[in-house]
Each structure stands twice: as structure tokens, then as C-alpha cells.
């Protein structure tokens, strides 16, 4: 197990900066998710941790010791790739035992460790099969066993669930979480799927364009996003972001007027999550452009003076038809206010109702 620290870590490729100076601490035994869209530098960061890429600048520290120059094979890291990267010519048992070949273990001890790791992820019945004879979920488990068999100080997971079907993803999510807790192993997960990140990890690191946008608990990234990017990336269906103008203590977006707890000036963006909007007798008006049933709830898309707005409402009576004119209302306390020029959230301001101008 190890405490990981990244200091001003940078990776430049010819013409591109993949990772642009990031700082991060991962506590011993904790589970951290690197979350971001493709190309945000999360995988590059992972590969630098694994020792496959060497950083252009900055430092990687394991338990306070610099490991930049330590080769991948000496770092004792377990890694599960998106494609699992199992060795096709070896059986599951040989795959799991592969890392032990380089540790000079006695055969009996190695066999014991393989059986132990296989039992941990419940593939002990499949040890004589080759990867091609295993289902996606089984391959995933074998890959996990191979990563764990050497008792690594750090477990890296690169989009481990993205090749599984929805039901299996749910199972593996809780299973990986259970394993991580059980073994107490420091784990870093890379994913573009916010559900994976927020459900599995203790802390979520949202990345964008090679930088860390926010590092917080899953709840904080949702409730208190640090920037417009985090607000837009976390939460499904995504947050409604409406441009507004602030002058003094008044914030105006089209027909909506809000009162700020302290004076704000300039162009701002008001964010309201779809689940915080509700149908009402008066308020912002719009025409129902699309209705998407999502099971327990229904997502409505409204076209109105503020552009397209999405709201999530419970299934039930009084469902408007497509094309109907409706009004929506919200509690201003649920809104988030962002400075448009810096893209950062204005944190010390709360909004209260001022007047909703009826049209």
C-alpha cells in the first residue's frame, strides 16, 4: 500500500500538452477516480503512474520517495486495462501467474497465490480456459486477479467497466469497491463515466484539458462544482446553464430576476439542475419540444425565451403533451452562479427570488 503524490506533473507530446501541471495527493488505502472526457489527460496520468510514460516535468512520489526514474516493472503496480490486455496464448491461470514469474517464487507458493487471487474474484473454476473462451466479465475478473496477485502497492484501473454490458457493470462496480475496501489497497480509477466515478471512489478528480478542475467528494462535485465545466460534466441529465447579467444585487436572465446576497457585476451564468425545476402555474414559460420517459421520471425539453431547458419530473397525472405551453418554477436556493469570464463558481453568493416577470 502506498500514499501517492503528484507534484506539477506534466506530459508534453510533440505539439500537444496532455497533462498540464497537476498536483494531487492520494491517501494510503483510498480510492480516487480521475474523471473527464476523452483527451483530458487522465489516461496519460495513469500511464505515468504506472511508469509506462515518463513525465516531461514534475514529480511522482510513492510514500514520499520520487519514483520518476523507476521502471514500470520495479514499481509493483497492478493495472487493469480497458481491453483487459490478457495474454491470448496463456490460460487464465498462466495469465494470473505471469507477474509471479519475475519474483522468483517457488512453484507451490506461486500456485497458491494464483488460486488465492482467482478465488478472490471468483474465477477459480475457469483457470484452465484461455481468454478467448471467457466472457467479457470473466476476462475482466481474470485481469483483476492478475493485477492483485503480486500484492501491488497501487492498483490502477483504466476504464475497467466500459466493455461490459449494463447489468454486469453494476455487479463489477460493487465488486471492485468491495475488493478495494477488503484489501485496503490504494486505487486510482480512470473513467469518463461519472456514475462509475461517483459510485466507486472516495474522492473524484475532475480533469479537463490536462488540468484538474476539481478534486472533491462525489457529493461536492455535484452540489458545489468549482467551475462551469464540472457543473456541466457531473449530473445526468446535465445541468441547465443560462447566461445572465448581474448588476448590483440583481441577476437577470431574460424574464427571470433574482436577488443576490451581495453585489455582483458583469456577465454570469445561472445553473439549475433539471431535477430542481418543477411545473407550476406561473414562472418561466416554454413549449414542450420532447418527452423522454426515463423509468421513474420523465425528462421534458422545453423551448422558451431562455433557450432549451430540460426538467425532470415524476411520472404521474398532469403530464403535459408534446407541443403544450407550460410554466416552470424553481427554488433560487438550488441555483448555482458562475462568473462567465473565469468560468468559476461565485461561491459566497446565494440567490433569492426577486420577481418573475410574466410574459
Amino acid at each position: 500500500m502506498a500514499r501517492i503524490e503528484l507534484r506539477n506533473l506534466r506530459k508534453d507530446w510533440p505539439g500537444v500538452t496532455a497533462v498540464d501541471g497537476i498536483n494531487l495527493r492520494v491517501d494510503d488505502g483510498s480510492f480516487v477516480a480521475l474523471l473527464g472526457p476523452s483527451g483530458c489527460g487522465k489516461s496519460t496520468t495513469l500511464f505515468m503512474l504506472a511508469g509506462i510514460y515518463s513525465p516531461s516535468d514534475g514529480e511522482i512520489l510513492f510514500d514520499g520517495a520520487r519514483v520518476n526514474e523507476v521502471e514500470a516493472r520495479d514499481r509493483n503496480i497492478g493495472i487493469v486495462f480497458q481491453s483487459y490486455a490478457l495474454y491470448p496464448h496463456m490460460t487464465a491461470a498462466e495469465n494470473i501467474g505471469f507477474p509471479l514469474r519475475f519474483q522468483g517464487l517457488e512453484k507451490a507458493e506461486a500456485d497458491h497465490r494464483v488460486a488465492e487471487a482467482a478465488a478472490l474474484v471468483q474465477v477459480d473454476q475457469l483457470l484452465q480456459r484461455r481468454p478467448a473462451q471467457l466472457s467479457g466479465g470473466q476476462q475482466q475478473r481474470v485481469a483483476l486477479a492478475r493485477a492483485l496477485v503480486k500484492r501491488p502497492r497501487l492498483l490502477l484501473l483504466d476504464e475497467p467497466l466500459s466493455n461490459l454490458d449494463a447489468a454486469l457493470r453494476l455487479t463489477m462496480r460493487s465488486e471492485i469497491r468491495r475488493l478495494q475496501r477488503h484489501l485496503g489497497i490504494t486505487t486510482i480509477l480512470v473513467t469518463h463515466d461519472q456514475i462509475e466515478a461517483t459510485t466507486m471512489a472516495d474522492r473524484v478528480v475532475v480533469m479537463n484539458r490536462g488540468r484538474i478542475e476539481q478534486e472533491a467528494t462525489a457529493e461536492d462535485t455535484y452540489r458545489r462544482p468549482r467551475s462551469l465545466f464540472v457543473a456541466g460534466f457531473i449530473g445526468a441529465p446535465p445541468i441547465n446553464l443560462v447566461p445572465a447579467l448581474a448588476a448590483g444585487d440583481r441577476v437577470t436572465a431574460g424574464e427571470v430576476g433574482l436577488r443576490a446576497s451581495r453585489p455582483v457585476t458583469g456577465e454570469v451564468v445561472v445553473g439549475v439542475r433539471p431535477e430542481h425545476l418543477r411545473l407550476a402555474a406561473s414562472g418561466v414559460h416554454g413549449r414542450v419540444a420532447a418527452i423522454e420517459p426515463m423509468g421513474r421520471e420523465v425528462l421534458l425539453a422545453l423551448d422558451g425565451p431562455l433557450g432549451r431547458i430540460h426538467l425532470l419530473i415524476a411520472v404521474g397525472a398532469g403530464m403535459p403533451a408534446e407541443g403544450a405551453q407550460v410554466h416552470v418554477d424553481f427554488d433560487p436556493a438550488d441555483t448555482l452562479l458562475f462568473d462567465r469570464s473565469t468560468s468559476l463558481r461565485i461561491e459566497d453568493v446565494t440567490l433569492t427570488p426577486d420577481a418573475v416577470v410574466a410574459v
Binding site: 511508469g51 514500470a72 493495472i79 490486455a85 495474454y87 491470448p88
Partner: protein, 363 residues
Amino acid sequence: MIPAVALKQIEVSGSARPDWAALARRTRVRGMAGQIALAAFLAIVSLPIILPYFWMVVISFTARTGGVSADVLWTACAVIVPAVLLYSLVHLVVFSPGTRLAAGVGLTVVALALLAWLVGSRLHIDNYRFLWRANLVEEIRRKATAGGQFPSVWTAFTNSLALALSQTAVIVTVASLAGYYVSRFAFRGRALFLHGMLVAHAFPAMTLIIPIFLTLYWLHLLDTILGVMLVLTAIELPFYVFVMKGFFDSVPWEIEMSAMTDGATRRQAFVLVVLPQVRVGLIAVAVFAFIRAWEEYIFVRTMLIENKNWVMSLYLYWVADDVMGVDYGIVAAVSIFYVLPSLLLYVFCQKYLTQMTIGGIRG
């Protein structure tokens, strides 16, 4: 949004119910007609290839010194062609594998019996006596001919084997290492290197024959198997490097990364994890390189002179040169002996050879 007006215009055309049974019948008839046409076409185009080989076999087992007659060939054809046609007919009509097999075995037995009865008495293995008698040609011509005494065919066979095996070993080793490097590493001049190899492969090597001859002479490698092997290897290598590059390209990078985080060095990752993935490519390249070396004629003809250095193609050439017009049987028998190793390799490694083109295309 699609305007409602436009939506109205898109309607299922032709409301009449189609005749499904007729459509299904049409597909079946077309399928069968296509199969027959394809089989007929392939049979016809393969005739010019099969017939000469078949004739060669027939000559080698029937001809005697003094001339060759075609009547055994025609008799054999008269038995085999109807048997094959009959079997094709069975295949078209009967679908159970058991019956098909029974028909095949039955027809083979009948054809063999007919052949034994019609031409059996004319078969002999006299033409293969070159396998145990070295100075065969002089026995036939009653004087020493070009090249002086004929070497034993086994000398030529051993030389051919040495040439082909050493060339195969060098090509497999160099092509796999170079292919891996070109596939995985970025280095200055990589594009130029790849283009250069393509050009080198497109360049007709025959035009270099005089400079190569002189170079070998200066290096004292003229008239040695080693010299020819080096020349042929150099000429052939670019192609095989490309083929191997294609195979390595299709091995995912992540497997190697995984091996290295698992504790392997780069070399261990290559040997333990990458090489097994390109096993098919290695076999294909090996077989192809072996066969190419086995059948080589122009360069060995130019650079191997003394008869102790003859390879099989030269042995065949000199046999043909000396006894042609007198004893076709022995030429045919030597040809069969010469073709046999390539043929066996092709038969047993066919599936790898077809994979090679796939690997090549990926590159």
C-alpha cells in the same frame, strides 16, 4: 425536426402482398446455379495447371529411354475425369456427408482398379534410379558431358537444404526483430526507411546481377552457398520485414504495457508475450522463405559453378540439358523429387501462408 408534410409523403410503396415462396425459390435456384458456374469455372481454369503436373507424374513412372508417348496419360484421364465428374454430380444431389464419403471411396476404388488394369503393367520406377546412381547421365550418353562427372543427387539436395534452411533462419530472425522495431518505435528516418524498403522490393534484383557477381568475387564468396545465401537474403528481406511489421501492428500495445508493469523487461515482454501472438506470421515467413530459396534458379545459376556446389535447381537443369530428347522419364523423375519438399510444405502450412497476406495487408 422533420416537417409533418414530409413525413406524410414517405409511405410504404406497393401495398400488394409479396409472394414469399416464389422469392425464396428464386434465391435457392440462383444460389445453386452460382455454385455450379463457380465450380465449372474453377475446374476449367485449373486444368492448364493440373494437367502438366499430372503428365509429369505419369511420364516419370512410365517413360523409358528413347522417347515418350502420351497414351498412358490419355488412358488415365479417360478414367479419372469421368470419376471426378461423377463425384461432383453426387455432391450436387446428395447432401448427407456419410453417403458423400461412401460415394467418394467407392469411385476411388473403381478408378484405381480400372487404372491398375489398363496401365498397371506399364508403370515402373526405373526413372528414379538417379537416387542411388550418381553417374546416371554418363550411362545414358556414354560420355562425360558439361560439368564433368555428375554429382550425386544427394549432394545437390544437401546444398539446397543448407541454402534454404540458413536463409530461412536469417530471414525469420532479422525480419521479426526489424518488423517489431519498425512497428513499435518512432525513430528519425522511419518513413524514409519504410519507403526505401518498398522501393528496394519493387526494384528488379536481376539488374544487379553483374555488380553482385563482382562483389562476391572480391569477397571470395563466389561459388559458395554462404555467398548465395547472403545475396538472396538481402534481396528478399524488405518484403518479409513488411509482412512481420503487419503482424506486429496487430498486436495490441496494451499487452506489452501490461507485461512490463507485471515485472517483465522489454525483452522479456517481447519474447514471452509479443512473439507468441505473431507465431502464425513467423511460420508463414519461414515457409515462404524456405520455398523461395528452394526454387531459386537465376542467382544460383550465376554464382554457383562447381558441381559440388550445385543445388537442386541446377542439378535438374544439367540433367535436362544432358539427356533432353533422349530420356524424358528421368527429367520428369528429378522434377518430381525436386518439387516434393515445396509441395509438402505448402500442403501442411497452407493455412499459415494464406494468413500471411492478411498480415501483409494490415501493414
